[in-house]
């Protein structure tokens, strides 16, 4: 039996996929609270017209850092945490293929975020140009922009190393008999996500490096006065940015595809079409980027191309939705917390997907663009898609991780509070956007007051409800009803063949898949 390190050393020097997974998940949850706190500053200021609490410059810092923290600190590391814990367990491998790389890719993250957050304390405050860091506005920023750029480089390195690890593990360490088309869908979605990460993180690194040299070394990539082009930045950014969107949602699809069959007691419908749909979404994500920039004045042909390609994404996404619904159809469903989350994700993500189709229609996007309609849209896919899928996944696998069942009543409470407050927060934002309220506004004309108040009240409820999540997790870690190896009723997958809690080292003897 290999040794089991203890104390600080166990965590700092860990090469164990489970410990590193736990570190990632704890990190992600802390960032969720930090990013959430920034969001509450935004919502407090927007409760009424007029400036009550913060000045507009600080408000812009809040919107910018909220997004950066949520995207790069909460959602992406969260999914890496799930990957670390579950991929070796699901493919029957004893660990990730590259354990030291794994340790390194986690432990550079806290430094990246320390750098990003400490930028609040330099002259001029944190970056305030939006998470998209559009030039030339970013060129005007203070030294915090440089700190953010370095932080982004570190996050990118971390993501790329994590992605390499996933690819190497999945392609080389599957148990005998587990062919690619027998892999659990969570593994598939992560494999494809990993390729997306390797493809686009360097592009983002390139974009922010060009910003850096524009700021300090006399280049003019994005400065028209020197022959540069501000729109070039947007093209490069969104060439990264759109695949990034799918990086944040594909693993969520994987989690949902694991949970629904378990609680429907019925195999996943259309497994191979799920795999192909995921691959199709990943491919399309590279040819739709300019739908984020319909108002920059592209040629008509360009606008048409990006409208058509964007609309096409609805097809593989629709296939996924229909497959989940068919999995539920004629199943024998029960509604434990993970299932409730999955159902809500399918339902709410569909709303976000449909508003995405509306946004794809270029001429009407001229009205929707840069309004709260967009804010509502991407929170429906990012929060009620990605984040709620992770919450569902946490409840689903928490018994396997800790060896204890979570408190089902509290779990349901957490689910209902989250879902209700989420909708109170973000549904009215559709209306705000249609009625004409632009996003990233520190203050607004009085006709937008009512829906903003709904949204602010909902946001505080949503934020406070998450304390319950932490409480449930802590309670489950510390004790509770013993979980069986299978935890649920006949769930599919190798992770349910190991004891609960999963011992420090698993699959030292290779399992076989028939």
């Amino acid at each position: 039996m290999a040794h089991t390190p203890t104390g600080l050393k166990r965590w700092l020097m860990s090469t164990n996929h489970k410990d590193i997974g736990t570190l990632y998940l704890i990190f992600s949850l802390s960032m969720l609270f930090l990013g959430g706190a920034f969001a509450l500053v935004i919502r407090a200021e927007l409760f009424e017209p007029g400036l009550q609490y913060v000045d507009p410059h600080f408000f812009n810092q809040m919107t910018t850092v909220h997004a950066l923290v949520m995207v790069f600190g909460a959602v992406m590391p969260g999914f890496v945490g799930f990957a670390n814990w579950m991929i070796p367990l699901q493919v029957g491998a004893p660990d990730m293929a590259l354990p030291r790389l794994n340790n390194f890719s986690f432990w550079i993250l806290p430094f990246a975020f320390t750098l990003l957050i400490s930028s609040f304390f330099v002259p001029g405050g944190a970056p305030a140009a939006g998470w998209t860091l559009y030039a030339p506005l970013t060129i005007q920023g203070g030294m915090s922009v440089d700190m953010a750029i370095v932080a982004i480089h570190i996050m990118g390195v971390s993501s790329i190393m994590g992605a390499i690890n996933v690819i190497v593990t999945v392609l080389n360490m599957r148990a005998p008999g587990m062919t690619l088309m027998k892999m659990p869908l969570f593994v598939w979605t992560w494999l494809i996500t990993a390729f997306l990460l390797i493809a686009v993180m360097p592009v983002f690194a390139g974009a922010v490096t060009m910003l850096l040299t524009d700021r300090h070394f006399g280049t003019a990539f994005f400065d028209p006065a020197g022959g540069g082009d501000p729109v070039l930045y947007q093209h490069i950014f969104w060439f990264f940015g759109h695949p990034e969107v799918y990086i944040m949602i594909l693993p969520a699809f994987g989690i949902i595809s694991a949970i629904i069959p378990t609680f429907a007691r019925k195999p996943l419908f259309g497994y191979s079409s799920m795999v192909f749909a995921t691959a199709a979404i990943a491919f399309l994500s590279f040819i739709v980027w300019a739908h984020h920039m319909f108002t920059v004045g592209m040629p008509l042909q360009g606008e048409l191309f990006f409208m058509y390609s964007t609309m096409l994404i609805a097809v593989p996404t629709g296939v996924k939705i229909f497959n989940w619904l068919s999995t539920m159809w004629r199943g024998s469903m029960t509604f434990e917390t993970p299932m409730l989350y999955s159902i809500a994700v399918v339902f709410l993500f569909t709303i976000g997907g449909l508003s995405g189709i509306m946004l794809a229609i270029t001429p009407v996007d001229f009205q929707y663009h840069d309004t709260y309609f967009v804010v509502a849209h991407f929170h429906y896919v990012l929060f009620s898609g990605a984040v709620m899928a992770m919450m569902g996944g946490a409840y689903y696998w928490l018994p396997k991780w800790t060896g204890h069942m979570y408190n089902e009543t509290l779990g349901k409470w957490h689910f209902w509070l989250t879902t209700i407050f989420f909708n109170i927060t973000f549904f009215p934002q559709h209306f705000l956007g249609l009625a004409g309220m632009p996003r990233r506004y520190a203050d607004y004309p009085i006709q937008f007051t009512e829906f903003n108040q709904w949204s602010s009240v909902g946001a505080f409820g949503l934020g406070i409800s998450q304390l319950l999540f932490v409480y449930i997790i802590v309670q489950t870690v510390r004790g509770g009803e013993k979980a069986t190896d299978e935890v649920w009723e006949n769930p599919e997958g190798l992770e349910w063949t190991v004891p609960s809690p999963a011992p420090f080292h698993t699959f030292e003897e290779q399992p076989t898949v028939k």
């Binding site: 507009p56 606008e303 048409l304 159902i343 663009h369 209306f431």
Partner: protein, 302 residues
């Protein structure tokens, strides 16, 4: 029905009670908004393009709504019918090629049905030819400059909402906000009703976006670029329309509104005459030079 629902989600009655109380509390807290006029859709459009845009928006919305209703019915039918507590034995099917072909093909058809009117609409909106007048709009941090290129009219337009209505940090004596809070400027843009107005957009520092919701569409004002858009206000649209900057441009992004007066042709001409020659020679020569450049825009459609 409600009881069924409770059973389905294994919700205990007291949970429902608390949820109801909670929502009642929420309603009370913000009950004063119940009487307010909620604006939840595009404001009433004052251009033909704007109305067609609204129709297209409604068409796409209703298609999406129909899909949502379909998904909802399917999902909740499963939830009610196919649950363990009703003693249902799970089926064991896991694919159906026919179904999968259907739900790949049908969405493609639906998308084509949406794409056709969208394409027509887009071609119409991008056609800036045969305009009657041309106004060049320049975004600054944080004001707009308007140049009527053929008529020697040039002015800046800055927010005119008093600062003490905005700054409410000291909440002891808040100054009440006016009806047009954050939507009023010192100088208004004036355009004639019924005429095709071509708007050239650029910016002097960072990217801005010029948007008057009731006049349809927005476009970015980007330094180094000259973008184009056009509006034709209805003959009977005489009145004042308010808009705002829609691209994050720094600290006072929310404080650079746009106010457009749509007037009759006679009033327009009177206004032009009264305001002509305000352009400084320097600005005129810069504008002329910019217009003379053959490479007028890297990115607009011709």
């Amino acid at each position: 029905m409600v009881l069924n629902f409770l059973k389905v989600f294994q919700l205990k009655k007291h949970i429902l009670q608390v949820l109801l109380t909670l929502s009642a509390l929420l309603m009370t807290t913000i009950s004063h908004v119940a009487v307010a006029a909620y604006e939840y859709d595009f404001p009433e459009q004052k251009t033909q393009i704007g109305r067609e845009l609204t129709d297209l928006h409604h068409f796409v919305f209703y298609v999406c709504l129909a899909i949502m209703v379909f998904v909802t019915i399917w999902m909740f039918a499963s939830i009610f019918m196919h649950r363990k507590s009703r003693g249902v034995e799970p089926a064991n099917f896991s694919h159906s090629t026919t179904l999968e072909i259907i739900w790949t093909a049908v969405p493609v058809l639906i998308l084509i049905v949406m794409a056709i009117p969208a394409t027509k609409m887009l071609i119409k909106m991008e056609d800036t030819t045969k305009s009657d007048i041309t106004i060049k709009v320049t975004g600054y941090q944080w004001k707009w400059q308007y140049e009527y290129l053929a008529d020697n009219v040039d002015f800046y337009s800055t927010i005119s909402t008093p600062r003490d209505q905005i700054d409410q940090y000291n909440n002891d004596a808040p100054v009440p906000q006016g009806e047009n809070y954050l939507q009023e400027t010192d100088n208004h843009v004036v355009i004639p009703a019924g005429k095709k107005v071509r708007i050239l957009l650029t910016a002097n520092d960072v990217i801005h976006a010029w948007w008057v919701p009731k006049l349809g569409g927005k476009k970015d004002a980007i330094p180094g670029y000259i973008n184009e858009m056009w509006i034709r206000a209805d003959e009977d649209a005489i009145g004042t329309y308010r808009g705002r900057c829609a691209e994050l441009c720094g600290k006072d992004h929310a404080f650079m509104p746009i106010v457009v007066d749509v007037v009759s042709q006679e009033d327009y001409e009177t206004w032009l005459a009264a305001n002509a020659d305000t352009a400084s020679d320097q600005i005129k020569s810069v504008a002329a030079a910019k217009l003379a450049q053959p490479k007028q825009s890297v990115a607009t459609t011709e």
